[in-house]
Structure formats: C-alpha cells, structure tokens
C-alpha cells in the first residue's frame, strides 16, 4: 500500500507547529499504529498517551482531521489518504506536549460527586431490566472526547461552572442505580451547571462507547432539576410560604 502523510502537532504549552511525517500504510492500520511507527522510526520523543490499543481504556484521544476520535479505533483506510491527515491534541484541554493534554480538571470535577450510597437496609437484589440503563452509562471509558467536543467547554471554557457530559453520565449512573439513596439534583444545578447544556448532542455523536449521553443521561437529569427547582406549582408554594416549607 502507499504511504500516508500525517500532519502531527508538535509542541508544548508555549506553542508549536504541525510537522509532516510519511508513514507506510499497512492493511487494517489505525492512526495510533501510524503514530507508533513515527515514534519508532522518525521521532522517538513524540508524546502520545495510549494504553490498551483496543478501545477499552480511553487514553489515546485526539483530533483526527479535526474530529475528536480514539486513535486506536480510527482506521487509516477510512480516511482520505490522498491528503495529509491532521492529528492534533484535544482542543478543550491545555497541551502538555504534542498529543498529550492536561486532563486533570476532569478528576477535580469527579471528586465533587458524592459516590454511591445504598439505601438503608437494602437486600442487594436487582432486576436486569433495572440495571440495563445504568450499565449503559457504566460503559464510559473516560476518554473525555465528549468533554472535548462540548462547546460549553471547548468554545466557552466554562470549566468553573460546568461539569461536562462525562460527569452527567456519571451522575446519571448514580441517580438511576436501583439501590442508591442519595439525591444529587442540587449538585447538578449549582455545581455542575447542567443548565448550560443546550442538548446539541455533539457529545453523543463522538462517544466511542455509543452511550446515548444526551437522550438517556442529560435530558432525564435536566427533567429532575426542572421538577425540583422550576415546577410552577412548587414555585408558587415557595413564594407564598418560603423555600423551607416546600
């Protein structure tokens, strides 16, 4: 097969530029294979995160031809090889070096979320049909591609006020766990800023685990927030009798 040109971002916090590398394309090759080939033969210091190379760990997130992708799952033969393939770090996070970005903010957000707390005296029996919808959310491999593509983070950088799709998925998994006994609605509204999301479904489109982030996680959570804080009947009652009586 012919060679491909990979146009890879090289640089760090101070800045950088795209550098072209010629890579021989082999059958079934993925973008991460091409990056490894560059490391082994042309640029041993090319920085990239990866672990499993099987789309199970969510480490090798980057933007291939401008689209947030897992490099281990992006086939070279699905890309137009007559033009250079651009490989850039995720835009929503600060660059550390080359394709590696600083994703530590995500771990800080995660810490804000109260973990699973079983209802008192539960029997630990659950029906598969009740578990199904939570298992969808538990598929998340924390690649943070949904965070990368979300315009609230990517374009408006509202990292102080907004938790991002990944953490709505996590809260949904906890809130819909059949035996969980906590309520995280106030957290969703006030700390994770779920109201900023205007359900454009960009996150759902990039999810490599095909989690229906918007439909199955975010919208039901938004409904819970609305029911608790914006229900007109509750609001009138609140106005008349004061918040503590509602």
């Amino acid at each position: 097969m012919a060679d491909a040109t990979l146009r890879v971002f090289r640089g760090d916090r101070e800045g950088g530029k795209a550098v072209d590398y010629q890579v021989p394309v082999t059958e079934g090759m993925v973008v991460l294979d091409a990056i490894h080939s560059i490391q082994a033969h042309q640029a041993p210091d090319l920085a990239v995160r990866w672990n499993c190379k099987a789309a199970k760990c969510g480490s090798c997130s980057a933007e291939v031809n401008g689209k947030p992708r897992l490099m281990c799952k992006t086939r070279m033969d699905a890309l137009p090889l007559d033009q250079p393939i651009t490989v850039s770090p995720m835009k929503a996070f600060p660059v550390i070096r080359d394709l590696v970005t600083d994703v530590s903010w995500n771990y800080k957000v995660n810490k804000k979320i109260p973990p699973f707390q079983p209802q008192p005296g539960v029997k630990w029996k659950m029906e598969q049909r009740d578990v199904d919808r939570v298992q969808e959310f538990r598929k998340c491999i924390e690649c943070f591609l949904c965070q990368d593509v979300c315009h609230v983070l990517r374009d408006h950088d509202k990292k102080e006020q907004f938790g991002g799709p990944r953490f709505f998925v996590r809260v949904a998994a906890l809130e819909m766990h059949p035996l969980d006994g906590l309520d995280r609605t106030r957290l969703l509204k006030e700390e994770l800023g779920i109201g900023f999301c205007n359900i454009t479904k960009c996150c759902t489109e990039v999810c490599p685990e095909e989690i229906h982030i918007t439909d199955n996680a975010i919208i039901p959570l938004k409904e819970r927030v609305v029911d608790e804080f914006y229900d007109p009947v509750t609001m009138i009652v609140r106005k008349i009798f004061g918040a503590k009586n509602t």
Binding site: P44, A55, Y107
Partner: protein, 574 residues
C-alpha cells in the same frame, strides 16, 4: 519537603505502586486502617491494565449452581495450576472471593443479574461450575471504576503519570522510592514505612501480547533489585485467543467468555479440533491446553489464512451475542471488518499473564524484604503453573486487600525511615545516562529485538537449545541497552520512558528464561519439547530467583505438604 532528599518528597505510611485492581484495593484497605496512603501509577488513574479484563471474576457464590463452594473453587484452582500453586493462597482466594465481590457491589458495581436478582455467573475454562461474576465482557472496567471512585472518596493521594525507577532502602527494610513525573521529567522521592508493589505483568517482553505498554515487569524488577525473591518465573500464560489479523491488532485479547457463552473452535477443515486434545472439556479446557492445541493445528497446516483458528459464536442469536459480548462485537467489526454475529473470528495464542512473580507470604503479601509487599499479577504463587480465567480479578481484590491491611499494620509498628542520598544520586544517574551519550541506539529498536527474540525462543514451546540461545541474546541486548541513546528533552518523552522500562523487561525476561531452562519437564503453561511430560519430582518444588551480588541466582525450594483438610478436598472428585 523533608530535609534528606534534594527532590520533591512525599511522606506516607503506605506507598502503593500501581493503580490497577490490586493497588486500588490495597489502598482502600490501608485507608480503612487509618494509614496515610499514596498511590503512584504510570498512566492516568483508571487506565491500568485491569480495564482490559473482560470475562469476569471467579467467586464461588453459588448463585446459579448451588453445589459450588470454596472447596471446589480451591480444587479447580490447584488442578488448573498443576499442583504447584501455593495451597494456602489458593485456599484464602477461594474462601474470600465471594465476600470481596459483595463488597464491590456495595460500593456501586453493577454486575449482570440472574432471574432472581442475584449476580449472574458464567462458565469458564477449568471451573467446575458457572462461577464468573461479570458485566458483559467489560468486567475489569466495572471493577476499576468502582475501586477508583471508592479510593478517591476515601482520600488517597494519587500521583498519576509518575514512574518509579528504584526502591530505596534503610538498612534491610524499604524506606521509599525514587521516580520521575512523566509530564515534566522532574524527579520525585517518596518516603514510606511500607510499600505495596501492584504493578502487574510483563507481557511487553513478547511480540504478540494482549498486554498494554505498562506491563513491563517494573514491580518485579524493582523488588528484585531491592533484594526480594521472585517465584516460578517460568510460568507465562499464553492466552489461546488473541486477534491475529490485521497486523496492528495482533495479540489483542478475545475474551474466553466467547467460549464461555458457547463459542466453538474449528480449524480450516471445519473440524472441532479440541476433540483431539481434551474431548471432555473441549473449548472450555484450561488455557495452557487450548493455546497449545491452536498452536499445533496451525503448525501442522490446519490454520486459518492468517495463521490462527476459527472461533465461532454466530450460531447464537445476534442480539444475544451483542448483549453478552458487546466489546468483542465492536472490536471485530471496527478493527477487523468481521461481524461476529454472522461469521467466525480468527484467533491465536497471545502472551497474556505471568503466573510467577514476587514471592510473598500467603496471609500478608509480604516479600522477603522488610516492609515490601506485593499483590496481584506482580506477586507469584496463587496460580501455580497455569491460571484459570477469572481467577485474576478475584486475586486482585482478595490479595490486594490482604496486602493493604498488612502494609498498614506494618506501618503502625514501624518508625519513620530515612532516605539515603547516595541511593538517590545513583538512581538519578541511572535514569539520565541515556541522555548523556552523544550517539547510540534508539530504545525502540532494542525493544523490538527483545520482543522478537522472546517470542521466538521463550514462547509456548521451549527447548534447552532455544533457552540457552535466549540467554546469550539477552546478554547482547543488555550490552546494547547500556549504550542506548535518548533524544529530546525530559518533557513527556516516550523514548526516554521506554529506555527505563526496557531495563525492567530485560531483568524479568532473564528471570523467566533462567527458570524455564531449569525446569526440565512440562507443566501447565511451561511446555518443553525436550521434556514433554510432567514429572512427580518436579511437582514437589518451586523455583526462586534472587540477586546475589550482581548475579541472578536460581534455587529450588521444596513444597510444603498440604494440611489433611485440603488434601482431602483434592482427593474428592465431584
């Protein structure tokens, strides 16, 4: 910052190296004991190799098969390990696994369910009963996420993307560790009363492997350099079913759950060849047997176009396959253009798991060095000569917990150690050396040649001549590694990282080869063409490797007899 190191220093009661299942479970237990705990890991938290575990975790919960109990699990584990397992570890493992699984559930893990609402269990090779608690084919992810969230909430200090390159000692006990931040290349020291090694396996020494880049034997090499003993390093598991095509995905794991759910193995002539090798257990024979069978079929000319065997689950309803094996479905569809609901996969053996490892006390996980503990794949003994599928995830939580507990208790009884600057200077010199050379080989080339050599000479079938040749080659590779050169800066430099991982791989590869050469019989995963039979006399001993001066020394240790109660269980055949 403490006074006696010139670098950023962090002080803890318990330092845990590795954040897979064993490391995280150890951390949780040490925290529960009131210890101040640090977890150091080479990758981001939650990316450890445990996420790739697919099929499930073995625990005799008897949710489906009421006859199951710890005794049967114990017997299966010992038989699978060809009776050279540490019987006490096998006993503790079988007895404690169900409680550890319940604990995961109480911390939020959501396993697949039975009709009556309990945890669903599936069949797996070598297990008498349906025993593997699972979540589709992504059980490891469920486990790591559960443990990660639990640990974060309990408040351990996590040092992500930080590599430990040397254990530090204060007299005969451990005092801490030296390492670098991958991101900045800055050095960091840790001071700790107890250290738990939970760094996983060594698969990256082989060319075809299911292991991630992290599995370079770091913990075993660190412990060995610090004077600890390594046990049974000849026993390396080749998982029968890795992907064989396309080339870029060669070795990636195809879960045993495919066979557990009814998948059939066939050669190119359409024959279910397991009939020849294990007519009783067929596809669900133990991994060593199935791996050798596939290898033999291919070698004798009955392989598939890309040199494997066919594994077929397409006789099951498509919806069932997608529900029970979702990641296999996607993996083959996206990476190999194969729809597993419609046709067979091509699979072949892949280097998967190290049964050997740091020699530890069964109850506590303590190594032969004071204050140094190990758990999970980095520790040896539980699995003997061959590990049963599903026994790894349960190993992590049973012995991770035990090591964390013992490490915290040890810390309570121990005064703060002091760090030795001379050792730190030496560690610094070692990691920086490849930058100092004006010319030299690239570490990628040496790694490539190591993998190629181990695959060729220390693979599934071994011979005296091959193993001796491997030792010669290892010596040459070590010489080349002494002269390798790293380009660029210390800022997130994978070439530099590999130069250091390579040293660990060379050490564990050498240990494996020595032990394989010494065991003049075939047993479990260790198959010698020149000694094809298992010999009773070899079943009475284990191999221990230790550093004497600068030399790797191997000796045999006799096995202790099982207590009557356990011997009785082994004698029963249900």
């Amino acid at each position: 910052m403490t006074a006696n190191s010139k670098y950023e220093t962090h002080e803890h009661d318990v330092l845990i190296i590795g954040a897979g299942g064993a490391g995280l479970r150890a951390a949780i237990e040490a925290l529960a004991q009131g210890a101040k705990v640090a977890v150091v890991c080479k990758s981001l938290l939650g990316k450890a190799h445990t996420v790739m575990a697919e099929g499930g975790l073995a625990a005799a919960m008897a949710n489906l098969d009421k006859a199951d109990d710890w005794r049967t699990h114990f017997r299966d584990t010992m038989r699978g390990g060809k009776l050279v397992n540490n019987w006490r570890m096998a006993q503790l493992h079988a007895q404690e696994a169900p409680d550890r699984v319940r604990e995961l559930e109480q911390w939020g893990a959501l396993f697949d369910r039975t009709e009556s609402g309990d945890i669903l269990q599936r069949a797996f090779g070598g297990h008498t009963f349906r025993r593997l608690c699972h979540v589709g084919d992504r059980t490891g992810l469920e486990m790591i996420r559960t443990l990660q969230d639990r640990g974060v909430q309990m408040g351990f200090d996590v040092f992500m993307e930080c590599t430990i390159t040397k254990l530090l000692k204060d007299g005969d006990r451990v005092s801490g560790a030296f390492g670098y931040w991958r991101e900045s290349g800055r050095f960091v020291t840790f001071k700790a009363k107890s250290i738990v090694i939970a760094t996983g396996g060594i698969g990256k020494s082989w060319k075809i492997t299911s292991n991630s880049w992290e599995c370079t034997g770091d913990g075993m090499a660190l412990a060995y350099e610090a004077g600890a003993e390594l046990l049974d390093m000849e026993f390396v598991q080749f998982h029968p079913t890795g992907m064989v095509w396309p080339p870029g995905v060669q070795g990636i794991l195809v879960t045993e759950a495919v066979r557990g759910e009814g998948g059939l193995l066939r050669n190119k002539n359409g024959e279910r060849f397991m009939e020849k090798y294990d007519p009783k257990k067929m596809e669900l024979s133990t991994r060593d047997v199935v791996a050798r069978s596939i290898y033999t079929e291919v070698k004798e000319g009955r392989g598939t176009p890309h040199g494997g065997a066919y594994l077929d689950i397409s006789h099951k309803p498509a919806e069932y396959v997608k529900r029970k094996l979702p990641s296999m479905y996607h993996q083959f569809k996206e990476l190999a253009d194969v729809d597993i609901t419609k046709g067979p996969m091509e699979v072949g053996p892949t280097c998967h798991y190290m049964m050997g490892g740091i020699r530890v006390d069964a109850e506590t996980g303590q190594s032969s060095v004071k204050g140094l503990f190990a758990a999970g794949e980095a520790a040896g003994g539980l699995h003997g000569a061959n590990r049963l599928g599903g026994n790894s995830l349960s190993d992590l939580i049973v012995f991770g917990r035990r090591a964390g507990l013992a490490a915290a208790e040890h810390a309570k009884k121990t005064a703060a150690p002091s760090l030795d600057n001379a050792q730190i200077d030496e560690a610094e010199r070692q990691v920086l050396a490849p930058f100092d050379r004006a010319e030299g080989e690239n570490p990628y080339t040496i790694h490539h040649d190591l993998q190629d050599m181990m695959q060729r000479l220390v693979g599934i079938f071994r011979t005296d001549a091959d193993l001796r040749q491997a030792l010669v080659e290892l010596e040459k590779l070590r010489e080349r590694a002494k002269k390798m050169r790293v380009e660029g800066s210390r800022l997130f430099n994978p070439g530099w990282h590999l130069s250091r991982d390579l040293q660990c791989m060379l050490t564990v590869s050498e240990a494996c080869t020595h032990a394989a050469l010494a065991r003049k019989e075939s047993r479990g995963a260790h198959s010698r063409l020149d000694f094809p039979k298992s010999e009773d006399v070899w079943g009475q001993k284990n191999h221990v490797i230790v550093k004497k001066g600068d030399a790797m020394t191997l000796f045999e240790v006799p096995r202790t007899a099982m207590p009557a109660e356990l011997a009785q269980i082994m004698a029963e055949d249900k």
